[in-house]
Structure formats: C-alpha cells, structure tokens
Amino acid sequence: MANTSESSFWMPPQASTIAKEVDDLFDFIMDLNYIFFIIITVMTVAFVVMYRRKSDDQLATSDFDHSILWEGAWVFVPLLLCLVVFVWGFRLFLNLSVAPEGSMEISVTAQKWAWSFKYDDGQVVNDLYVPANRPVKLIMKSRDVLHSFYVPDFRVKSDVIPNRYTTVWFEALAPGEHRIYCTEYCGKDHSGMYRTVKVLSEEDFAARKKKGFEGRPEGQSPAAWGKELYSKLSCVTCHSLKEGERRIGPSFWGIVGREGETEDGEKYIANEEYIRESIMNPMAKIVKGYPKSMPSFAGQVDDDQMDAILAFMKTLK
C-alpha cells in the first residue's frame, strides 16, 4: 500500500494511484523539453559567438542552404517522439477516464460559488469525504454555469456542466487532506470556491458516515453552526452581515421580521417560512431592486442546517 509522496519541483504530492502515471509522462516530456531546449540554445549561442561579425564588410563563409538528411532528421525524429508521447498520453487518458468496476459513487453538484457532495444514504455535505485505498467515482453536474472539478494532488479534472453528467474517478493512497479547486471561470467568487477532499481510513470513513460527516459539531450551538454554514455555503459572497450594506443580494442584518416588497409588488415579511423558501426556491419572491441571480440550495441544505441558519440569522440584530 503506497503512501502519498512528497511534492517534487514541478508537481504536488502524488496522492492518488494514478498520480505517479501522470507524473511519469510529465517527466518524460520534461526531459524532451530540456534536451531540445539545450540543443537549440547551444546551437544558437555557439553560432552567434563563433560567427560574430567583427568588421563591417565581413561576409558569410558558407552558402549551405539545404540538406535532405538534416531536414529529414528534424522531421522524422520529432515526429517519432510526438507519436510516442501521443500514444502514451492517450492510454493514460483512458485510465484517467474509465473508473474501475465497483467504484464507490458520490454525487457532486457545483454552483456559483459552492460545491456539495451527496452520498448514497442521502446526506449532503460541503467537503468531500472518501475512504483511502478504494476507487471513488464522482458523478457531477452544475446548477448554473460551467465549473470544473480539480484536485491537483490526485491529477484529476473534469468540467462540470449544467445539462449533463460528467465523471471523474480516483483512488486515494492514504488518509490526508487535499485541495479541490474550481478551475473553469464562473464569475465573482471563482477563486473562492475551493473545498477539501478529506481522505479517511476505511474504519474512520464508515464510522463518520454513519454519524453524518458534517452534522452539528458536539457542543456547538445551532447559531454558531449557522454562522459557519453562512461561509461554507458561500452566502457570504452575496449577503453582507453589516447593516444596510448591499452586495449582489440584501444584507442579513435585521433580516428576520423585516418587511419588504417583491419585484412583483407583493408585500412580504421575512419570517422563517419566507427565508426557508428563499433558500430553496429563490426565484419565487425576489426582493424588489435586486437581480435574479441567487441559485437554489434545494437538496443541499437539510433540516438541521436550515434550523441552524435561522438561529444564526436571529442573532443578527
């Protein structure tokens, strides 16, 4: 059973079974890069030094201007090397694309600007918990625009699209934590949309899954948990906590019990039901004067989390 390797000059740690395969091809191409770079640079520098014009009327001393052998070599050898790299890269790509039979499937949803992960028992969490040494297959979709799921330490990436499923698979080598980045530009918080893969040992994984990976931590009040969720679910990107401060959406300060008007002219009071509806189905009652851009969190916020969010909001006054 291999361990996650240390990072090298070019690459992050090899934390998945396929990382070493990717790095092997990368290293081969890098060697080719070094060799050809040195050849061209040495040739150029040497010729410039050796044949430097020392007087104004100095002329060339050779009219060597064609050679089938030289040209041929420079067509044939690069072509051969390119074909080797092509075949190697394609076969590696197939390994990257096709998940092994029996992979554990986890469902991934991307939206502006948060990830959520859903397990077969229905629980939805915001970091990706996986067991070590077991192939995991992610089945991914977007709620809105293009995103892309990327874990540098695993060397895997796939765009996440709104109208179909895309997949990525990996087998983590050992317990540890690894960064997940969104890597398809998606607007304001594109660079803030990162989460963590938490690789657990087989036993830890089973135990924590049973308990719920991200239930409210022991001893934490619902309101405090709600405040964490406000950041984790990315509400902070569009909703300020400062009185009257408008971002893409209205401020949460004093929101519970606030009266207002929707863009259809309907009057509302922001009680618990209004807030719950706005999280699950934001388009139903958009506040007048604000854009229609809030994504739905249906399926991503469970009842416990909803209670915590409401408890937190009640403290904002």
């Binding site: 890069n33 890269g89 398809e184």
Partner: protein, 556 residues
C-alpha cells in the same frame, strides 16, 4: 552583382525626392488616404496604443496577485480587468498586429508593387478596425465585460455585463481582418514584379499569404458564433444555454474552430519577420527555403483540424480527444522545422547583433520553450492536470509574447528606417531588448511551476498556505522589468521621430525589393517597377569573386 534581388541594371538614385509622409498635408489627407504606407503607419500608432492599454491591464492583474486577499481591487473589478487584457491583446493588438502595421507597409514594396490590389478596401479595413476598437472601449464605460476573452456560455449568455456590445465589436473587427486577408491574397497573386516567381518571394510574403488564408476562412466562423451568442441573449433562442435547451459545449466547438486557427494568424507573420531578420543579420541565404515556405502553408491547413485540444476535459468524447491530440502533434512538426532552419542559417554566417537581431535571437529561444511546453498540453494524459492552470497561461505567453511580440518589435526596428527615414538610438534599443527579454522570463517562467503545482488560472485570489505566493511575487516583479523595457522603447522611438539621424536607403544591407526605395519611400514606391533576377537572400559569399561595382554590403 547587384545589391538586391533586382536586376543590376535597375537605376537606383540616391537623390531624395518628396516622400509619402510629405506628399500631401493635413489630417484629412491621412484619414482618407489610399496609400498603403500611410495606412500601415496609422495602424502602427493605434496598435502601439492598444498594446499599452492591454499591457496596463496586465500590470494591474499582476499587482493584484502580489498578495493574497484584496491588494488593489475587488474580485468583480479583477474579472473585468483580466477580461479586458485578453480581449484587447487578442483582438486589438496581436491579430491585426504584424499584418496591419508591418504587412501593409512592407508587402507591396517587397513585391515591387506600387500599392495593394484594393487600396480603398485597405482604407476600409483601417476604419472598420477603428470603429471596432471604439466599440470595445465603449464597454469599459459601461462597467466592462467579465466573461474572460473566450465568452464561455452559459456565463456569457447570462451575466449582466455589456457582452452584446463587446461581441458586436469583435464581429466588426472580424471584417477588418477578413478584408486585409483578402487584399493580401490578391496582391500576392497578381501584383508581383516581373521575375518575382513564388520561389523568389521573401519568406515574409509566404507567411503573410498563409496568414491571409486563415484570416479569410476562419474569421467568418467567429462572426457567426458571436451573432448566435447575441441572439441567445437578446431573443432567448436556446443554442448554448441548457436552461433554454441549448448545449454549452457547442459554443466551445464553434468558438475554438476560429480561435485555434487565430493563434496561427498571430504567429505566422512573426515567423515571416524572423526569416527576414535571420537572413539579413547573418548575411546569408536562408537554410531550407522551400521547407519554410511549405511549412507555413502546412500550418495554415492543419491549424483548422486541432481546435478540440482546448476541450479535452470539457465533456468531449475520449474518441474526439484522441483525434485532436494526434492532429495537434502533427501541427507541431512544421514549426519545429522552422526553428531548426533558422538556427542552421546562422552557421558560418556573418552575424550582427544590431538591435533587430536582439529581438530575433530571443524569439528562437522563447518560441522554442513555448512550442515545447505545448507538448504537455497536446498529450491527453498530462493535459488533464495542466488544463486551466497557470501552465497554460505561461505556454501561450511564451508563444504569443516571447514569439509574436518579439518578432513584431524586431520588425518595427528593422523597417523603422525605411518607414520614417530616421534612425533610433542603437544603445537604448539594445538596453530595451535585454530588459524585455529578462522581464519576460522573470514574469512567465515561474508561472510554469505554479501551474504544474496546481494554481488555476483566472483566479482573483489564492490562500497564504497554498505555496503559490512566492511565484506570484516574482512574476509581478518581472512585469515591472518588462514595463521599464517598454517605456525605454517608447522614449527612444519617439525621440527618433523628432530628431533621429537621417537613415540611408539600405542601412542593413538587405536584399529584398523594399530596400531599393528611398527611406522613406516616395508616394508611389517605385518610378519604374524593377525586374527580379534571383532569390531574396543571395548575399555574396566571402572569397567568391565579389569585385564588382555598386555592391554595398556595409551597414553604414
């Protein structure tokens, strides 16, 4: 033997007549000119300005990335700044760049012609370019577009920024590109001087021809794609947005079908300039003339077949990925041929390190790095890790800036005496070239490492514990060195215009036909069209019988 490829009996007078700059006066005589040289000069000044604007955006981007968290601007502003950087550099600087600013001026002269085939179309190209530029800049008054220069849907079909005006501006600019391409193709076919067969053409002309073919054939596809995007935004027709029943990956196919060939519109002219600089400043015939000429055409053709390499992780099928990867490796070979042929040309030449050559030699090395790093991206298995990271950003800056921009500046310095009849300060020109070379590498080399270590592109921010900060800091400092080099260039070029030493007809001892004309040329270029008797690079050889009059190979 004669001094150029023209018939030795061609009478070259060194008596200075009224040149094209003084031939007529007043703003209107420039705005309504049909003289290809005046049009080229107007393009040159405008393109310098757009490069400065795009460069300013780059400096702002790099400044923001100096530290984690907000440095000088918030994320929404940052997204608009990097978008404008890309759009200005691609559509306002590099695609028109060499063809419009240098090609317009030099091409008819190189062919021994008095102008291009369609001078009024040429003027129209310029005015359309200006209109498109104004439209693009207009969007900055409206808050600026925040989609990235690639306009991927559904973000671009739903964001609340002035996407319609910006895509309309690109649509308009496309016509400028198409008209220039059309003009050049016809000019090269129909207006060559007697004796100037295809195999006697300077390689710059071959490069312009190949570029023009791509411009004419690929640009309409972009135009239609942008119109479809506008239709979707305005009329809600579901082409690309799944919420309306469309397919976002379809947009990528349409977009890259133009934008991949477009990168060859960007590099081929630079390669053309390279052939001229390497030969003139080695006083030697090019090695492998036919291979270089044919490779330009091969690149133009194969460039249409590789667009899917931008989409390996887009949801495209593995089968499509395989085909595109294979073809991508094929398109690398003609470029490799050019590099080795230019390097080989230096062998036993007489190599001058005058300032134009200080742009050409770095091109050789920097374009090699750019091309070699493309291999990582063309190979499917490594592209998965590297796609959309800073590795890609570094790769394309090495080919577009280390390649095309260097060639552009080299060409400007090379033809400057011909265009303006003035010399520039050689010492400061060398300082500028060295600073730009150093600044460029300091800016972009760290980006390869950042990228392979996972730093994504188009990121406003990174965390302090990510380990990327040191690379960002080095890169930002590099951008300041680049700025210094460019500012120095601006100063000595401006100074040359005001009070530069008078330049002679053929200061570099080159052999193509443009060096027959006076510096600057008279309005109609040639009183009498020369006849061409040999290839463009028939420099005399040391030790051969060179005792003939009229031979002038000195650089004085």
């Amino acid at each position: 033997m004669s001094e150029t490829q023209a018939d030795p009996g061609y009478h070259v007078s060194d008596k200075k007549e009224t040149n094209y700059i003084h031939a007529s006066k007043g703003l209107l005589s420039w705005i309504l000119t049909v003289d290809h040289k005046r049009i080229g000069i107007m393009y040159l000044f405008t393109i310098f300005a757009t490069f400065a604007l795009g460069g300013l955006m780059a400096l702002l981007v790099r400044l923001e990335l100096l530290t984690p968290g907000e440095t000088i601007m918030g994320p929404e502003t940052y997204n608009r700044v990097f978008t404008l950087h890309g759009l200005v550099m691609v559509f306002l600087f590099i695609i028109p760049g060499i063809p419009a600013a240098l090609g317009n001026f030099v091409l008819p002269l190189m062919l021994g012609a008095k102008d291009v085939a369609f001078p009024k179309l040429n003027l129209a190209s310029f005015h359309i370019y200006i209109i498109g530029t104004i439209m693009a800049l207009w969007t900055t008054l409206d808050g600026g577009v925040d989609t990235g220069w690639t306009f991927y849907t559904p973000y671009s079909s739903t964001t609340n920024t002035p996407v319609i005006m910006m895509t309309l501006s690109a649509f308009v600019l496309g016509f400028s590109s198409i008209f220039t391409g059309l003009n050049f193709i016809v000019t090269i076919h129909k207006m060559r001087a007697p004796g100037l067969g295809w195999e006697r053409l300077p390689l710059f002309v071959w490069a312009m021809y190949a570029t023009a073919v791509i411009q004419v054939m690929a640009t309409p596809v972009l135009g239609i794609t942008l119109l479809l995007l506008i239709m979707e935004r305005v009329m809600g027709v579901g082409i690309f947005d799944p919420a309306l029943g469309g397919d976002p990956v379809l947009f990528q196919h349409f977009f890259w079908f133009y934008s991949h060939p477009a990168v060859y519109i960007m590099i081929l002219p630079g390669m053309g300039v390279m052939s001229e600089l390497i030969t003139t400043f080695s006083r030697k015939r090019i090695f492998g003339y036919r291979a270089i000429a044919v490779s330009s055409i091969a690149i133009a053709v194969i460039s249409f077949l590789v667009w899917g390499h931008h989409m390996f992780v887009s949801g495209q099928s593995a089968y499509a990925g395989m085909v595109f990867s294979f073809l991508t490796f094929l398109v690398a070979i003609p470029s490799a041929i050019k590099i080795i042929n230019w390097s080989t040309t230096l062998y036993k030449g007489s190599i001058s390190l005058d300032s134009p050559m200080l742009w050409a030699l770095p091109f050789l090395i920097l374009f090699t790095i750019g091309g070699l790093t493309g291999i990582f991206l063309g190979a499917l298995g490594t592209d998965v890790h590297l796609h959309d990271t800073y590795f890609v950003v570094a790769h394309f800056h090495y080919v577009m800036m280390g390649g095309t921009a260097m060639a552009f500046f080299g060409g400007i310095h090379y033809w400057w005496p011909k265009m303006f009849g003035k010399k520039y300060n050689e010492f400061w020109a060398r300082v500028s070239a060295v600073l730009v070379f150093l600044g460029f590498n300091i800016t972009f080399l760290p980006q390869f490492v950042m990228g392979s270590r996972g730093m994504p592109r188009r990121y406003y921010d990174y965390t302090p514990d990510s380990g990327y900060q040191i690379f960002h800091q080095i890169s930002t400092v590099g951008s300041w060195v680049l700025l210094l080099g460019m500012l120095i260039m601006l100063v000595y070029l401006a100074s040359s215009l005001r009070s530069g030493e008078v330049a002679e007809r053929n200061p570099w001892g080159a052999r193509s036909l443009e060096w027959l004309t006076q510096s600057p040329p008279i309005e109609h270029n040639f009183h009498e069209i020369p006849t061409v008797v040999e290839g463009p690079y028939e420099f005399p050889l040391a030790g051969a019988n060179t005792a003939s009059e009229g031979m002038d190979v000195s650089g004085s």
